[in-house]
Amino acid sequence: MTEKEATAQGEAPEPTQPPPSGRKNAYNTTVDGGGGLVRVGAPPSPLTVLGRAAGTIWSVPKARVGLILLAVFVLAAVFAPLLAPYAPTDNSFARAEGGSPAHPLGTTTAGEDVLSQLIYGSRVSVLVGMVAGFGATLIAVLLGMSWGYTRGFAADVINFFVNLFLVIPGLPLMIVLAAYLQGGGLAMIIFVVVITGWAWGARVLRSQTQSLRSRDFITAAQFSGESSFRIVFREILPNMTSLITGSFFGAATAAILAESGLSFLGLGDTAMVSWGSMLFWAQNSNAILTGQWVLLFAPGLCIALLATSLTLINFGVDGLSNPRLREGKGR
């Protein structure tokens, strides 16, 4: 991670004065020392910033592929009841069949339609990815940024805890937690994934906060009497949007993989149709021996594609903060 400024590209140059606290009143003009009116560039509205950021991400070919892939999965999850030919738990079909016009991907050993299960399975993964990704990022932002801004003993204590969570292997901890909380279903999985998934983001955000802390505009904000809370979340936070977005996608990827792993071990709710539990049942019903490779192949491919799509989007997000990583510019 470079220590370079994380200003999103193409934005208004850093104001020489601290941004006035009543931002809306000083929208287009600001009063200079002599009392005359000096025009400064209008701060771009959040929508414009968002649009520009999306444009930058979209301009990276890898990220474009990722966005399209992600859209496919999200749409599949939202419109699952319309897309899926059957209910995912309808086990009234012939068992362990190969592909046929009625069941393009065949049926499971319990007689369920594989394609329908696959489409419904996207719901769990997308949901866990979003919710757990959001939860982990929220903790990372709150803890990482206040940690980066404070100095002294408190920072050392947080440092120790974050490092502890970073080195403790995540999956074993998840497995142990899930074993104690058995029967908790999806909420339990999300909880476990969040608990084990926030530390990396916190560390990344902390180092960026530390480097921004000593900038002039922060010193200016301190002298103008802004509270620490306001400085951290109103002055520093907007400069870290791309890092936060990045850690969200990173956390979501990890969450999706973690959920599938726990479900595959049968630690989630095995009755719930998810890609991980499809593989759990495939292994437990010896799909390997019956030669039903589609049953093994398809759910894992979906997990891999969904996780890849988020990683690909992150290539674009990386480019937001670090122009060196942008594509097609040479080194």
Partner: protein, 326 residues
């Protein structure tokens, strides 16, 4: 030396924290092992308080206040006394763990080193040949394969190479007829059985190293001293390897310690698929049988192994990068 001493202090502190976490975790959780055992018994009829007391005594449920329990627990950990396994009664938990540990340590250790070296080299190459085929192929493949769930790669390899082509054994760490010893024949047999699990871990973890190295290398390539070396007319290969890669490898090495946790976690899933008798498979058995003493000891053992590996990397890092020794 001061650097190493400080790292040792930090290691001890972290170990203590991990042990303490392991102590409080089950105590914060709803339910108890006794309840779980009684729930199983209750399916066959009502359970008397006497039975309950008997089960508690058998399971070695701790008594006394929490502080006494904690002190006893610390003593037990130091003497590797984790009690008796519920599932593999009357074997002690320590024996089970110590039998399983070498399998995982050797396999994961070897694969991780291979993956790190190979991935770093590919990452250097990708960054140096930026924008060419040598960049896009490893980068895109790496992005995709590192998103593979470990158990999925394992299942596919097991199916195609194990069952369809029958090139490799499908289960276990050595042939059923062999007994573990240190003869060349047995080691060859064990290595043959380790191929599929090892390749699984290699495929899934390689991408991370490639991408990490590529990114830091690209940053390093933009630094002034690299431009200066190029302007001096040094051979491109010398600039890439002796100037840029040497410095770019440092951040990647820090990642090594952190990624290790992920690889160990992945190996748990892989062992489950291949019935490989390492700590992962044992942990899986412990969890499905609600064998809490075994589960906790395994978690502690895995955590301690990762912490120690991290410590070694940290100390090594101090020698490679004098700036961190301050």
């Amino acid at each position: 030396m001061r650097y190493v001493l400080r790292k040792i202090g930090l290691l001890l502190l972290t170990l203590w924290a991990a042990v303490t976490l392991n102590f409080f975790l089950p105590r914060m959780m709803p339910g108890s092992p006794t309840d779980a055992a009684i729930a199983k018994l209750a399916q066959n009829g009502p359970v008397s308080p006497a039975t309950r007391a008997a089960i508690e005594a058998q399971l070695g449920v701790p008594t006394g206040n929490i502080w006494d329990q904690y002190v006893t627990y610390l003593g037990n950990v130091l003497t590797l006394d984790f009690g008796v396994s519920y599932t593999f009664f009357p074997q002690s938990v320590s024996d089970l763990v110590l039998t399983a540990l070498p399998w995982t340590l050797v396999m994961v250790g070897v694969v991780t080193i291979v993956a790190f070296v190979l991935g770093t080299l590919l990452g250097v190459l990708a960054a140096w040949k930026r924008g060419t085929f040598l960049d896009s192929l490893p980068t895109l493949t790496g992005t995709f394969t590192s998103a593979f769930p470990y158990f999925w790669t394992a299942l596919l390899l097991l199916f195609f190479l194990g069952y369809v082509l029958q090139w490799f054994p499908t289960s276990g760490a050595y042939s059923a007829r062999a007994t573990p010893n240190l003869s060349a024949a047995f080691i060859a047999d064990a290595a043959y059985h380790a191929v599929l699990p090892a390749v699984t871990i290699l495929i899934t973890s390689l991408g991370g190293w490639i991408l990490g190295m590529r990114n830091t290398m690209i940053n390093t390539l933009g630094d002034d001293y690299v431009t200066f070396a190029e302007a001096n007319g040094l051979k491109p290969r010398a600039v890439a390897l002796k100037y840029a890669a040497r410095n770019a490898i440092l951040p990647n090495l820090t990642g090594f310690g952190l990624a290790l946790g992920g690889v160990v976690g992945g190996s748990l899933l892989v062992e489950r698929v291949f019935n490989y008798p390492g700590v992962g498979y044992l942990l899986y058995n412990a969890v499905t049988n609600q064998d809490f003493p075994l589960m906790q000891a395994l978690f502690l053992m895995i955590t301690v192994s990762v912490l120690v590996a991290n410590f070694i990397v940290d100390v090594l890092y101090g020698y490679l990068d004098p700036r961190t020794r301050r």
